[in-house]
Amino acid sequence: MRAYTFTQPRSVREAVAHAGEGAAFLAGGTTLVDLMKLDVMAPTRVVDINRLPLRGIKLDPDGLHIGALERMSDVAVDRNVRRDYPMIAQALELSASAQLRNMASIGGNLLQRTRCGYFRDVTTPCNKREPGSGCSALTRINRTHAILGTSDDCVATHPSDLAVALVALGTDVHLATAQGTRTVPLDTFYALPGSTPHVENVLRPGELVTGITVPRSMWAANSVYLKIRDRQSYEFALASAAVAFEWRGRTIKQARIAVGGVGTTPWPLPAVERALAGQPATADTFEAAVSTAADGARPLSQNAFKRELLRRTLVRAFTVLAESR
């Protein structure tokens, strides 16, 4: 633990004024406090944003608006979310533990750091934690690591379940700095590791996530989040699939798909979406559609199984969705 200053602003303007180089926003604390204890993060300024007016879960003609400080558990039980966006509620309820969900915020969830064991252990090299120190996972223990979007410098998976569902649903993220506000589509919000794995998103120094908007659609209500893992609770995904179908009779008019546990960011699968569009919901359709899902995968010594697991996770999710129709 290192010394840091601590402030508790009451407005967004005040909060972003405190932010910048060396500062970290504190919401639920389930990532930041954890990583500060491990000495992985050592901010010199901690800005507690819990007094900011960034609450509210509201459904209107534009879609679902969720304040960045809403807790995961509150969003998961919201009636509108459960009815119109079931995959969001499912992704939340399959995350972490009840205690963590009671604390963790929606904004923080989108910004949580990877669970790569090397990132979290300061006695090992890790390019994401310490640029240029090397990637331990490339050659060592990597069963849970990513196969998509990886680079020679980083193979860490993005850990969020919620972000996978939100990417599939075309969510916008609302951001604020002292200079003003902007809105960024979530699927362009995250950065591939490339040669700069410590840069994980497009946030500017001191920029604050204030909320998200999930648009209305013809498919969000017909959606599922399927999470595959070794343990039935309290574990991150080996593979997950967020799938939404718009139906026309027995035919899939269009599909929205993103996958987790396999990519360095929440991973949309537009080619699979296209392969399903206009097709009957049959096992043959599903098998054919997922054949390209793991294209471009770069398996490591222990995680080659994720290619097949990814395809099967998708087929299972499609099947669940088709059967629940």
């Binding site: 070794d230 080996l238 697991l309 299972r316």
Partner: protein, 736 residues
């Protein structure tokens, strides 16, 4: 007439204090002028420290002491017990995660902060880490436990010849990774000396209080009588608190130097390396049998990891393949592979759990090879005497465990053909396995003190340990049973070396060993009471013969008078009488073989798409003699089965071969089952007292459930999928 509590569902006598937080665990004890310690551990797997600059740590706020190879604490190793090195006494690095420095400060945070300022440099050597590639060495078994054995029928030249002459041969090799106890309470100690440093009090979780105190005394170079160890509450042990590690000696040595009490609590990741684990092990089983499944030969070879720093040799065959089935030809060889890894320890069912996974999986493979039902196969090879020795068991009703288990579980619904039961997305399978665990009493004398008080209550005391198992409640139950008084009038005490040396909480022996000592102490205390009755001038029985008085249900009777012990003591003006008595096994210990037995039945579902195995039903029927506390025994068996499920499906701490780093040394990555992974577990016991072992007929139950349960899971997965996984854990990637 007082109804005995033995065998009933008895709530823990300390349940309220545990759930309300008033129970004090080692790190909860207060002390005035307390200093806090934090360990620094090595970040290489083998080599030596080249430089270690501790200046910044020494100058950090609140720091009162920094101990390192440049400023060691003079600890000594105990030859043959525990780790064979003393931390800080040299610069050698023997494994990654070894203690290399300790910082003591005014607060735990200051100690931790300062510890982070110590960054040694090393001269590195490649650690020897490969269980598969490093050379095998023969084990050196403890007395009476040869590491290898060969029993051949007359005229048979070798085990290979016996196998070659068999109609059906099954040969299978198994791998099990190292396993950690991950007890809820991290290892912690408070060390406090008296003013002239002649007496040390240690508050530290221990399974054997007197042994832990003795070990600390030797490491500190003080007489054994100088150390008192207090450990009434222990937050789980599972073998990780059998021997004293270096946490208590380090804290005590620093406390002596600093002249103030020191508390040391291990960080969770440090528990994985400072404290021992169960060895990784590779095993090969060969079974030769007739077409009818009758065994002709059993061969069991094991290669278990053995740390260069020492501690425990794994011997997985001797209490599984060597005793479980009747066979005319038997061979086992238990070897070691020396590695630069943290120390090992005797984790719950230390030999039997890994051994039974291999043997009971191989038996399932034999059932498949011969087309015989797995239960029937085991009954065809049922041993009534120990193979090779001809010794009989004190009490063995394993055949009833099979029969009752088959009925309770609904085994007849199982289809032998794999993949023949499908329920929606899920393949459904059933498997079974046998459980066996030694049912011994500790050979040493076990002492118990019984005190009868003038308020008609009694105190039963013994320096055994309650590691969360219910030992304190067991003492109260057996005391109430012996005295014939209600349980609420009996107080029990344990976990303090100032009490008479009691049974170690190891080897599932505590209850079986304590029962006879409680009985002896009750008799001795009653004799003291009668002595007072016939000698004290204020007693109505003064001058009577002792033989004229009888004790029953808390009362003395004779000459037409009846009086409770409390009233007699009040009458004669004595607050209490007490007696301490000892008990130890007699000649029966060598005349019989003692084991507890059981049969596991498991149903799993394996997802057809994504392969994850989920346990959906589990029935375990055990033969553990007479049950002292139904609730505690049920909990023990359920806990043992959960251990087996974790071992089968989840637990793994991958060892990086090039660095010696254990990659999952935290409770997120080292996965033990959560509630969602565990179905309702149906536990049944036969309740057939083992009257040879002790007067109550109670045998151990603490480790039994852990034995064979992983094999039952794996066998069920085979039945569901047709895929045999011989390398644990059985994760979904192996079933895709």
């Amino acid at each position: 007439m007082t109804v005995s509590p033995v065998g009933r569902d008895i709530d823990r006598v300390d349940g309220r204090s545990k759930v309300t937080g008033t129970a004090r665990y080692s790190a909860d004890y207060p002390a005035s002028n307390l200093a806090h310690a934090y360990l620094v551990t090595s970040t290489i797997g083998r080599g030596s420290i080249r430089t270690m600059d501790t200046t910044a740590a020494q100058n950090a706020p609140g720091v009162v002491g920094v101990y390192s190879p440049a400023n060691p604490l003079g600890l000594r190793l105990v030859p043959g017990i525990g780790e064979q090195y003393a931390p800080l006494e040299d610069t050698q690095i023997r494994f990654r995660g070894q203690i290399i420095a300790m910082v003591v400060a005014e607060s735990s945070r200051q100690a931790r902060d300062a510890a982070g300022l110590i960054s040694p440099t090393y001269d590195e050597q490649p650690p020897r880490t490969s269980l598969a590639d490093e050379p095998r060495v023969p084990a050196a078994g403890p007395p009476g436990h040869p590491p290898s054995a060969l029993v051949l029928a007359p005229g048979v030249a070798s085990i290979e010849a016996a196998l070659a002459a068999s109609d059906v041969v099954v040969e299978a090799s198994f791998h099990q990774p190292m396993q950690h106890a991950v007890a809820m309470e991290p290892h912690a100690v408070l060390a406090e000396w008296n003013s002239d440093h002649t007496q040390l009090t240690l508050y530290s979780g221990a399974q054997l209080p007197h042994t832990a105190a003795l070990g600390a005394a030797i490491r500190l170079g003080v007489p054994p009588t100088a150390v008192r160890l207090i450990t009434p509450y222990v937050g789980g042990a599972f073998g990780s608190r059998v021997i004293p590690w270096y946490d208590a000696p380090l804290a005590a040595a620093a406390a002596r130097q600093l002249n103030r009490p020191v508390r040391l609590v291990l960080a969770r990741e440090q528990v994985f390396t400072v404290v021992g684990h169960r060895s990784a092990v590779n095993q090969t089983i060969k079974l030769g049998a007739s077409r009818g499944g009758v065994l002709n030969a059993v061969s069991h070879v094991s290669d278990a990891s053995m740390p260069f720093v020492g501690y425990r040799q794994m011997q997985p065959a001797v209490d599984t393949s060597a005793v479980l089935y009747k066979t005319p030809n038997l061979h086992f060889d238990q070897r070691h592979v020396m590695l630069d890894v943290p120390p090992t320890c005797a984790m719950r069912a230390p030999n039997e759990a890994p051994g039974a996974f291999a043997l009971e999986t191989a038996m399932d493979e034999l059932a498949v090879a011969t087309g015989i039902d797995p239960v029937e196969l085991r009954q065809r090879n049922y041993a009534t005497v120990v193979p090779g020795t001809g010794l009989r068991w004190s009490s063995k009703h394993l055949d009833d465990c099979y029969r009752v288990g088959v009925r309770r579980f609904g085994w007849s619904a199982r289809r032998a053909e794999p993949r023949s039961r499908v329920d929606g997305q899920w393949l459904v399978g059933m498997g079974m396995a046998t459980a066996i665990y030694p049912g011994n009493r500790i050979p040493d004398p076990v002492q118990v003190r019984v005190r009868l008080r003038d308020d008609d209550t009694a105190v039963v005391s013994s320096a055994t340990a309650d590691t969360g198992t219910g030992g304190l409640t067991m003492l109260a139950i057996t005391g109430a049973h012996g005295l014939g008084v209600p349980l609420r009038r009996v107080k029990s005490e344990l976990g303090d070396t100032n009490l008479p040396p009691g049974a170690p909480a190891v080897g599932s022996m505590a209850t079986a060993s304590t029962v006879p000592a409680v009985e002896a102490a009750v008799n001795a205390a009653v004799a003291e009471l009668i002595k007072v009755a016939v000698t004290d001038p204020r007693s109505p029985w003064q001058g009577a013969n002792s033989e004229d008085l009888t004790y029953e249900n808390g009362h003395l009777r004779g000459r037409g008078i009846s009086m409770s012990f409390g009233r007699l003591l009040t009458t004669v003006g004595r607050p209490s009488v007490e007696a301490t008595a000892a008990a130890q096994p007699g000649p029966e210990a060598t005349q019989y073989e003692f084991h507890s037995f059981g049969a596991h039945f498991c149903e799993v579902r394996v997802n057809r798409y994504t392969g994850e195995p989920r346990v959906t039903r589990f029935t375990t029927v055990v033969d553990v003699g007479r049950v002292v506390n139904a609730q505690a025994v049920r909990s023990q068996i359920v806990g043992g089965v959960i251990f087996g499920i974790g071992h089968a499906l989840l637990e793994d701490n991958p060892l990086e071969l090039d660095t010696g780093r254990l990659a999952a040394s935290n409770m997120a990555d080292y996965m033990v089952p959560v509630n969602a992974d565990i179905p309702a577990i149906d536990v049944h016991w036969l309740d057939r007292p083992d009257s040879v072992l002790n007067s109550l007929g109670a045998r151990g139950a603490g480790e039994l459930g852990t034995v064979g349960s992983a094999a039952a899971v794996g066998n069920a997965i085979y039945n569901a999928t047709g895929t045999r996984i011989r390398s644990l854990p059985i994760t979904l990637d192996k079933l895709l």
